[in-house]
Symmetry: C2
Subunit: 101 residues, 2 copies
């Protein structure tokens, strides 16, 4: 694993909001609209954060009708496996049926 991929992934997770996104995703799929409530930032901001994680190969998404469900990629790099292990999961964030999406 080369240094620049490491840098890219580390930059992707070196942000409080994105750490929280990952903490939620440890419980499974989450959709964008829920993150808006959880992080208290605008919907476009959430979209941009998710894109950053996606571009670093850490998460992936699945379209479900109008909305999108994001989840952790199965095959993580050794670096990300270690990091994800140390992130404490956040209580179930969404996609549990209580919300519209």
């Amino acid at each position: 694993m080369d240094y620049s991929l490491m840098e890219k992934q580390l930059k992707a997770v070196a942000d409080l909001n994105r750490i929280k996104l990952l903490a939620c995703l440890k419980n499974g799929e989450v959709c964008v609209c829920d993150f808006v409530d959880i992080l208290g930032i605008s919907q476009p901001a959430v979209s941009q954060q998710l894109r950053k994680l996606k571009e670093a190969g850490i998460i992936t998404e699945r379209k479900v009708g109008t909305w999108k469900h994001y989840r952790l990629v199965e095959e993580q790099t050794p670096l990300m496996r270690g990091i994800l292990e140390t992130i404490e999961p956040m209580s179930p964030c969404c996609c549990t049926g209580e919300k519209k999406c």
Copy 2:
């Protein structure tokens, strides 16, 4: 380990030059002047990078006459233990007697 400490440490390592600093330090102590050669940036820039790693609790230093030897802290957080494990060491950087410091 709370999210904000994680964020602080992740921000500290999310930079190519600082990843290289850590890669060097995996072999043992290194002093500032050697990093200048290795990274190809100015001495003040190296000092500032090292300070960032130090403030995150990742490295510590020891004064030896005019110069300072930096090394990895022994007791790393779980997060940092995982990250450091995946950083491939760089070939011995200095403090091997070949250079002045």
